[in-house]
Amino acid sequence: MSKANQHEVDEFAKDADAWFRENVNPDPGFMLPLTFMEVGTDQQFEFLQNWQGKVYEAGFLGVAWPREYGGGGLAPAFQNAATDAMRRYNAPIMLNAIGLNWTGPLLLDIGTQAHREKYIKGILSAEDIWCQGFSEPENGSDLGNAQLRAVREGDEYVLNGSKIWTTLGNYAKYMILLARTNTEAPNKYAGLSFFLSPMKIEGVETHPIRKLTGEYGFTQTFFTDARIPADGLMSEEGSGWLVAMKTLEYERGARDGLAGGYMITPLDAFAVIELAKKAQRDGAPVMDDPVMRDQLVEFIIEAQSLNLCKERGHIAPLNEERPMGLSLSGKLMGTEFVRRINEFAIAMQGTKGGYYVGDPNAVDDGLWTRGYLNAFSATIGGGTSEIQHNIIAEHILGLPKR
């Protein structure tokens, strides 16, 4: 990665701006998912797969990844400029989230040459969709207790067990998988191994899960004597927990190592103001109701907090005493905010808060109601908010585990 020349970055930003202005289609004719966890129909999937491929082909994704594996070979500042342009034009999300944010950075960090050559390009182009197999039906927050078995047989591992909350599970070609290779290890973590595992093989079955919204987006994935090549093992047997924790760091740390783009549509808190102007309460706009008005200001202050905390995260002297504090708190702050502001937006709509997606009278096509219900995917997935509290308490504040 070369160091960014400001003039070149500016030129690149201009190109990106022009490209996204030209190519973002504001109305594909159907509702697009707001996050990669909400892809419920083939139509949505195909649209987003094409879109990511197009962005990659145009040179605005993986800009800072090494050129030899399909990246752009430029400094992170170039990718950031492209991502900013996506935001500016409210571009659709990048579909292949697990590949872009987890697998890719992991392979570039500790993968073999062969891994990189095989997987990186397909991750960027969205030809090879990735999913993640961490949670199990009986082991959600207690991830370290994962029980899916992987037994070595010659050049293969034989898998038995099941994973749940597999995002894009029915579309994925590969999975990053946490499996138990040793049931007699000194502790539960030491028995885990991390695999790059093919999905379209005998013995792997995906069953779609219907979400609380009535839509689809996740599967439960069953493994029955599924045989995968042993070269999919990352690092070595028994190091699965450490590798899994490493993947979390990419997501939580600086965005510099990531492929770029966003996988969750940024929420515009100001859109709620528009709701407050339209809806009526006692014959006047909700905006004139002093209680709702006050709550709205609170949300705007909080939205601004999140923006500012992201910016401040990059200013080292303002993070001296707890350097990881802001980045480890980001998920808790952000996901809880999204849940609560969607809930508030429903309250803003008066009687119309009772509509749901599909009704012609639903405000913004039911965006807020669906958004609220879907928001739980983020306050629960990737470690519940309660677990986030524990993580911050123990790792940032130094409070005891038990």
Binding site: L308, R312, P317, P400
Partner: protein, 373 residues
């Protein structure tokens, strides 16, 4: 949402943050804070001299008036660290008085007083009255022109550090309009100042009886600038208060964590209980948000429109974070938290003080609604 303010941090701010942290930690250990509460003056004159020598009083005073020529943005990290270690003294009052002179004073007044303040001479503001109104233009005290200058009347309250100050700048009505007058404290009649009993015992505040006080013609600040100066003072005070509050929030959280890590009950360190752990995290997250708002407000202070929004947000969030963190600190210290010896009360009292002066979270949210919608 770019119009709400951005983040920025200068090298000068970074340097001052570092120096102030070391200085305040050194000079204001808790036994010193406790000793000064009992002291009539309430601050250590030697530490004040050190502060003057460090040049902190001139940070936001232009070079032409004997200052360093930086801005309020650079005072924020200093104020934050003073607040963090509860370092007592007339820094807030004196800085505010200097800013009032800077924006509302005549050229002669600026030349006369600002260099002296930059050197460490103490000054303060007398703004609030019996109405308890946060609106600084709601003034009942008055100035009447006489042959010798102006005769003042009325009462002012919460005049910070008045007994230590050489100059008191008071807001009065003059010809039905707000005005600011500079009073030599030494000219006050006996009994004009009464020390008030205030919630934050680390500070000193006084009631000021203006009846019978006269000042020369040169004592009035530029009447044409008075309203604008009061608006500026309000914002400036809130920025500095937010800084002091952020520092305090950080320390009260650290203080709580220390206890949670040592106290044992039912055979377990109490910090391992999630009922204590999770609210402590909530306090910490609120603190980080408050600090982000604070440094954004410092950075945007001079931007028309944006500055006011950023400052009000900073004060609102600082109030929320500080009040919560200190409130939980008392609770989580259990029986000890109910005693005078537990430091949690010092922070909780200070949070109440700052909420009461220049506006709490609800007040600033109301102002923000007017600015935003």
């Amino acid at each position: 949402m770019e119009n709400l303010g951005q983040m920025g941090f200068s090298e000068e701010q970074a340097d001052l943050l570092e120096v102030a942290k070391k200085f305040c930690r050194d000079k204001s250990p808790m036994d010193k804070v406790r000793a000064l509460i009992k002291d009539e003056a309430g601050y250590d004159p030697d530490v004040w001299e050190d502060i003057a020598r460090l040049g902190w009083l001139g940070i936001a005073i232009p070079e032409e008036y004997g200052g360093v020529g930086l801005g309020l943005a650079e005072i924020v990290p200093v104020m934050e660290q003073l607040g963090r270690f509860l370092l007592a003294g007339p820094f807030f009052s004196t800085t505010m008085a200097a800013q009032a002179l800077l924006v509302g004073g005549t050229e002669e007044q600026k030349k006369n007083y600002l260099p002296k303040i930059a050197e460490g001479r103490i000054a303060t503001l007398a703004l609030t009255e019996d109405s308890g109104d946060l609106n600084l233009e709601n003034i009942a005290a008055s100035a009447r022109r006489t042959e010798e200058g102006f005769a003042l009347s009325g009462n002012k309250y919460f005049v910070g550090d008045a007994a230590a100050a050489e100059w008191i700048i008071a807001s009065v009505l003059f010809e039905q309009k707000p005005a600011l007058v500079l009073i030599e404290r030494s000219s006050l009649p006996t009994g004009a100042l009464r020390r008030e009993t205030i919630i934050d015992e680390t500070r000193r505040a006084y009631a000021l009886d203006l009846d019978g006080v006269t000042v020369p013609p040169s004592a009035m600040l530029d009447p044409a600038l008075a309203s604008a100066a009061l608006a500026y003072i309000h914002l400036c005070a809130n920025l500095l208060a937010a800084a002091e509050m952020c520092g305090g929030t950080q320390n009260v959280i650290d203080y709580t964590i220390e206890y949670l890590n040592t106290r044992k009950q039912f055979g377990r360190t109490i910090g391992s209980y999630q009922s204590l752990k999770h609210p402590t995290v909530d306090a910490y997250v609120a603190y980080e948000q408050a600090r982000s708002h604070l440094y954004s407000a410092a950075h945007c202070f001079n931007q028309q429109g944006t500055g006011e929004i950023a400052i009000r947000m900073a004060k609102a969030q600082a109030d929320k974070a500080f009040s919560y963190a200190a409130d939980r600190s008392i609770q989580f210290h259990g029986g000890f938290g109910f005693t005078y010896d537990c430091d949690a009360q010092l922070y909780r009292r200070r949070a109440i003080w700052h909420a009461s002066q220049f506006g709490d979270a609800a007040y600033h949210r109301k102002k923000l609604a007017e600015l935003l919608f």
